[in-house]
């Protein structure tokens, strides 16, 4: 399929996908800087593929061809490089940046306000960390939005998925706590999202959920659940963005703006105030006029005359009356709920979910080792690698290494007699002879000294575990970068010479294999 051939677009674009790639403060230390070099969250791999690839290919499959990718300015080079070279691009990715310091929190609403001039049509707002399940296509969500915004004036469609919580035992406290569940209220028949229990709400009343009676009388039968998590996939009318621009005090789209937007559906004053803005009256004009002229519509408008004698002589409704009788736009928020039984979905926004998602990718893949002969030759014959493991290209695995249920990145060096179980190694990691890894996530370029034992730890890029050390259940940060500055430069040099290194490694590998 070569869609890239069609250069001109005869039809106006229907949707623009807006992908937000943040710093990934929740994934610290994996996203902490590696020396002076940033480690963007979007490029943290899941199953040896940067997480953003999942979202981008999901968008691609849905037929949306235009993506606005917004990332922090310092990540631009890396992300732009990845997006424009590594990805098979049949669609256009426009990488834009905003200036922000990692600790200063620029809210998603602020970012949207800033880029609103670049968004001229209905848009899909996504986060780079959503790993969509194979059974749920973006198409499903878009179609729901298309149908509902056309028929009854829906303004947005969200997607929530049933979160599968990890076992209590699997949670390592030092890795940070899981976000608390967010209860939502929705109506099942129409798939309408009615209430999101925002952090503000739970602060205000931590004992009770306060549900408006206007909600309950408008939607008398609703469901309330804490099982679902927001996928941060929002299909919105363009007019929603106008509202974002107007309500300047909102900071986070997910935590503040969207819960507020849900309230417009049933709060009368908000409807009156924002209804026209969200759905301009002329928007649905043609359809409704046509509907009014249909014979069916007239019948519906005639009220049954229960008291024929007492009532005044009935007149056929005049066209103007009929016009005013149109149901006002519902301003509904649609919601697609994805059940856990239909496939696993997650947002890779905690270290836990990153590890969890990697494991799930492993359980689904049968492919394990690099196919191309050059990389393949780096893996020693005597290494034991179970089939539920992924090993990246140009990674060297020495003899009698045992690797199970793990993801090994590219350009790693795995020493002799090492044992790696249930771990995720990002690119350029070095595990020296006899080291043991269990349930770890190693940031880019982590070095594990010989015979070190590391279990259930997560490390910052470039961290070094000394030989023979034993570490358990910890987040390992490179504490003092200034002290390591010198080494750092070397590191960078190393990276520049990566290719050469690889060659050398390959040679070494060959040597080894030849020697045997």
């Amino acid at each position: 399929m070569d869609l890239g051939v069609a250069t001109s677009e005869p039809v106006a674009r229907e949707f623009l996908a807006v992908v937000l790639a943040g710093f990934g403060n929740e994934l610290v230390p994996l996203t902490s800087n590696h020396g002076a070099e940033p480690c963007p969250k979007a490029l943290v791999p899941v199953g040896n593929k940067p997480m953003i690839d999942y979202v981008l290919s999901w968008i691609d499959q849905s037929g949306i061809k235009n993506v606005l990718l917004i990332c922090p300015a310092i990540h631009r080079a890396a992300i732009s490089h990845h997006v424009h070279s590594d990805l098979p691009t049949s669609f256009r990715v426009d990488v834009q940046t905003y200036d922000e310091s990692p600790d200063g929190s620029t809210g998603t609403c602020t970012i949207l306000r800033h880029f609103s001039s670049r968004i001229s049509e209905d848009f899909v707002l996504l986060s780079c960390d959503f790993i969509p399940p194979p059974s749920l296509s973006l198409h499903t969500i878009l179609d729901k939005f298309r149908t509902e915004s056309g028929t009854d004036g829906s303004i947005a469609t969200a997607c929530w998925f049933e979160a599968t919580l990890p076992d209590k035992n699997a949670i390592i406290e030092d890795w940070g706590s899981l976000p608390p569940p967010t209860p939502i209220v929705w109506e099942e028949n129409t798939g309408t999202l009615l209430y999101i229990d925002s952090a503000d709400d739970s602060d205000r009343n931590s004992e009770e959920l306060e549900l408006r009676m206007s909600l309950l009388s408008k939607y008398p039968r609703t469901k309330l659940s804490r099982k679902y998590q927001d996928s941060h996939v929002y299909v919105c009318r363009r007019s929603v963005l106008d509202l974002v621009k107007e309500k300047r005090h909102f900071d986070s789209f997910r935590e503040e703006f969207f819960p507020w937007l849900c309230k417009i559906q049933y709060q009368r004053v908000k409807r009156e105030r924002y209804g026209r803005m969200l759905i301009p009256p002329n928007d649905d004009g043609t359809l409704s006029v046509a509907l009014n002229h249909s014979t069916l519509q007239n019948k519906l408008h005639e009220k049954p005359q229960l008291q024929p004698s007492a009532a005044e002589p009935s007149e056929p409704p005049s066209p103007t009356e009929a016009d005013s009788g149109i149901e006002p736009a519902s301003l509904r928020i649609g919601v697609v709920l994805h059940q856990a039984a239909d496939g696993f979905a997650t947002r890779v926004n905690t270290v836990h979910s990153l590890l969890d998602m990697n494991r799930r990718v492993l359980s689904q893949t049968t492919y394990s080792l690099p196919v191309d002969p050059k990389s393949r030759s780096l893996i020693d014959q005597k290494a034991q690698i179970s089939s539920d493991t992924i090993v990246g290209d140009s990674t060297q695995v020495a003899e009698r290494a045992t690797i199970k249920k793990s993801v090994i990145g590219k350009h790693c060096v795995i020493g002799k007699m090492t044992k790696i179980v249930g771990s995720v190694l990002l690119d350029h990691c070095v595990v020296e002879d006899g080291a043991k890894l269990d349930g770890c996530i190693l940031g880019r370029g982590t070095k594990i000294g010989a015979k070190a034992e590391v279990s259930r730890c997560v490390t910052q890029a470039g961290y070094e575990v000394d030989a023979g050390e034993t570490v358990k259940n910890e987040k390992l940060d490179v504490s003092d970068w200034t002290a390591l500055d010198d080494e750092d430069d070397e590191d960078e040099d190393d990276e520049d010479e990566d290719d050469e290194d690889d060659d050398q490694e390959e040679e070494e590998g060959k040597d080894e294999s030849e020697s045997e």
């Binding site: 549900l211 309950l216 009388s217 039968r221 469901k223 309330l224 107007e246 300047r248």
Partner: protein
């Protein structure tokens, strides 16, 4: 402990395994049908020409109930007679009861044993009745609890089966409530008294119950978060019609006995059990998918249930089949029911509209029109009379040229010619109205009582004052009626909750509550405005959108209330001062003084803030000003604060920030202004006020005197605030000092 009252019966029941018992609360415990119910209990009022209680029995018989206890309070003799001898026709002025036949229920072949239980007059609520059931030891197993005004064709036996099944696995499942899907705006679903159920869709356990009344409108439903902990996904239902059919286990009456403050079965018992951390009992819902069940709990539901019966929702309980009164009706096209015995006389030019029911031996004269109404037995409808959406009981005569709209006319009433009965009127038995009278909407009439009438009299009826001349002028020369006051709002305002006047309007026949329904939206929106004011950016965007006429009327009322409140508050303050002076003088203990204050507060129903204000004022004034100040002054302050300071926190709640604020505002207007810092320090030293509280107070812009008109008051506030700042500064220094020391 239940008394060994009916050992014989228990033995009997023990022999027959699984006798399904039912308890019928045949009293409404409210006055919504007044004055129709002044001489007759509500459960004997006819609906579609059969007494309500009969419909209830019929519903229970359908469910296979074998033993029914009927708890009756008001007019209990009548209920008892009705059960024993059959339901009577009461239409002669001499009050001779003409029995239609022997009661079907008391015949040996009926298969149902009905036991009337006369309960004391002091039984004021369903809760009291349940306690009575407990003390009498009536029920021996699972039983069905219904109200004496139930019309239902729900298969209660299935509910009982489900309940027993559940009891086998879960001993704590004490009750199953039958609810019916209806939609939130169903005509039979009472607006003034509906409910929200939170149900686990898997087990149909009821997790939370909240009653909703029409006025004052409820704006938010508070669903406790903790239910989500055990039940990750629940359903919130605002579309269920509460049928008031409960299948209860035997411990339910004992729970009422243990919790003597439970009055209402839903609002107190269900709510109490579900929110209690101690009881650990479960209540389940049975959502009836099919069938019909509703209670005649007010005049509005009387109308809607009449219509439901006529439009055959209650099948097989319909007038032409299984009519509880034992009469036979012919079902004609358009849901017209005419008594089949051929005694009905319809003039050729009379018109009977759809959805009507005409009882036996009734005559309808020429040109009379009857629309969607029910006419009882032996009635006479005069020529040219219009009866529209009204309910006329037995033996009533309506003269020619009358108009009756959306009203209930009792039995034996005589409405003379050319009278107009406007919507919502209730005319009690044996009243004579007219001729040429015009009743205002929602008028209530009953017959003047002859002296020496020894029947049990509604006490309120006696109090009615009436001016004979005025009544003659209003109701026609021949009238024997008295006019009931149309609930003056100011009188009934003090009734809280469901029985308040405005909420009652939702339950009134013919009242569309247009104004209240609108103000409901209005108040919602005003609430909304405060919501928006958090976001200052747009509060001034559309200034003119809001205030509606109805909201202004509401504010007027609230200002009246506020004025009366102000009087109450000043009275209260005087009393508190007196009681404290006494306490100071006689040297009471702090605890005793606190108890006294609490009692005072209960009696005058003022917010806690006022109590605190008064206490602080009294304590401050107690401090004597020592000339020259200095150490003696400080000692004096410390003495008073140490002795009486603890009282501030004993009056029912601890809120130190408020304490400081009140102290400030009192000092600002008192001549003890210079003492403010010393008192504050004394309070701090006595641990009544913590440093955190002082900081909070200090951070509050109101403490700076913002929003107060310039003048001595503002200056005072400002001074206090400055002094407070100095104290905080000192505390800061001390802290940093101590830190330095420790560090």
């Amino acid at each position: 402990m239940p008394p060994k009252f009916s050992t014989g019966k228990e033995k009997l029941l023990g022999d027959e395994d699984e006798v399904l018992q039912a308890v019928v609360l045949a009293d409404s415990f409210n006055k919504r049908f007044r004055p129709l119910t002044t001489r007759k209990p509500r459960c004997l009022l006819p609906i579609c020409n059969a007494p309500l209680l009969d419909w209830t029995f019929e519903s229970l018989a359908l469910a296979g109930v074998q033993e029914i206890f009927v708890i009756c309070r008001s007019h209990s003799e009548q209920v008892k007679n009705a059960i024993a001898y059959g339901f009577f026709l009461l239409f002669s002025a001499e009050k001779t009861y003409t029995f239609a036949s022997e009661s079907r229920w008391s015949k040996p072949g009926s298969g149902i044993k009905i036991v009337p239980i006369m309960t004391a007059k002091e039984t004021f609520s369903p809760g009291d009745a349940m306690r009575d059931i407990y003390t009498r030891g009536l029920v021996t197993g699972d039983f069905v609890l219904v109200m004496g005004d139930l019309v239902s064709n729900v298969k209660i036996d299935e509910v009982v089966k489900a309940h027993k099944e559940r009891r086998k696995t879960n001993k704590d499942a004490i009750m199953t409530m039958v609810v019916k899907e209806s939609g939130s705006k169903h005509r039979t679903r009472p607006t003034g008294n509906s409910s929200i159920f939170v149900i686990d869709p898997e087990t149909s356990e009821c997790l939370y119950y909240d009653a909703v009344i029409g006025y004052p409108p409820k704006t938010v439903a508070n669903v406790p978060r903790e239910i989500l902990a055990e039940h990750p996904e629940v359903e919130i239902r605002n579309d269920l019609l509460d049928c008031s059919i409960d299948v209860c286990s035997v411990e339910v009456p004992s729970l009422f006995q243990d919790n003597f403050d439970y009055l209402d079965i839903r609002r107190d018992f269900v709510h109490g059990v579900l929110t209690s951390d101690l009881l650990m009992k479960n209540i389940y819902c049975y959502v009836a998918k099919e069938g019909y069940a509703a209670r005649v709990q007010d005049t509005k539901s009387y109308q809607s249930i009449s219509k439901d019966i006529i439009s055959r929702w209650t099948f097989p309980l319909v007038p032409d089949n299984n009519h509880p009164g034992g009469e036979v009706y012919e079902h004609r096209q358009g849901n017209k029911y005419i008594a089949r015995d051929g005694s009905v006389v319809l003039a050729r030019t009379s018109r009977i509209g759809n959805n009507c029911l005409i009882g036996p031996s009734t005559q309808v004269s020429d040109d009379a029109q009857i629309i969607s109404s029910v006419i009882g037995r032996n009635c006479v409808i005069g020529a040219g009379t219009l009866i529209d959406n009204s309910y006329v009981f037995d033996g009533t005569t309506i003269g020619p040229g009358c108009i009756v709209q959306q009203s209930i006319i009792g039995s034996g009433v005589n409405i003379r010619e050319n009278t107009r009965i406007s919507k919502g009127s209730l005319v009690a038995d044996e009243v004579v109205v007219g001729p040429n009278a015009v009743l205002e909407p929602f008028q209530k009439l009953s017959k003047k009582r002859a002296d020496g009438d020894d029947e049990d009299i509604d006490s309120e009826e006696e109090d009615l004052e009436f001016d004979e001349e005025l009544i003659k002028a209003k109701l026609g020369t021949d009238s024997n009626a008295i006019i009931w006051p149309r609930d003056p709002p100011d009188e009934d305002e003090d009734e809280e909750g469901i029985e308040n006047y405005k909420n009652q309007r939702f339950m009134r026949l013919g009242d569309d509550v247009a104004d209240l329904a609108y103000s409901d939206e209005g108040s919602l929106s005003s609430d909304e405005d405060t919501d928006l004011s958090d976001s200052d950016s747009d509060s001034d965007m559309y200034p003119g959108t809001l205030p509606t006429s109805s909201t202004t009327s509401l504010t007027l009322e609230s200002s009246v209330v506020a004025a009366s409140d102000a009087v109450a508050v000043s009275e209260f303050q005087a009393e508190v001062t007196q009681s404290l002076e006494r306490a100071f003088a006689e040297g009471h203990s702090v605890d005793n003084a606190a108890v006294e204050l609490k009692t005072l507060r209960m009696a005058s129903n003022v917010p806690l803030l006022r109590v605190r204000e008064a206490v602080i004022a009294a304590i401050v004034e107690k401090i004597e000003i020592v000339e020259g100040g200095g150490i003696p002054q400080r000692q004096e302050i410390a003495k008073v604060i140490n002795r009486w300071g603890p009282l501030i926190d004993k009056i029912g709640g601890v809120d130190a920030v408020e304490t400081v604020t009140l102290l400030q505002s009192h000092c600002a207007k008192s001549k003890r202004l210079p003492l403010f810092p010393q008192i504050l320090v004394a309070l701090y030293q006595a641990d009544i006020v913590e440093e955190v509280d002082m900081r909070k107070w200090h951070a509050n812009p109101a403490s700076k005197g913002e929003g107060v008109a310039p003048g001595p008051m503002k200056d005072g506030l400002r001074k206090c605030w400055d002094v407070g700042a100095a104290i905080l500064e000192q505390l800061n220094q001390q802290e940093s000092d101590s830190e330095e020391e420790s560090g």
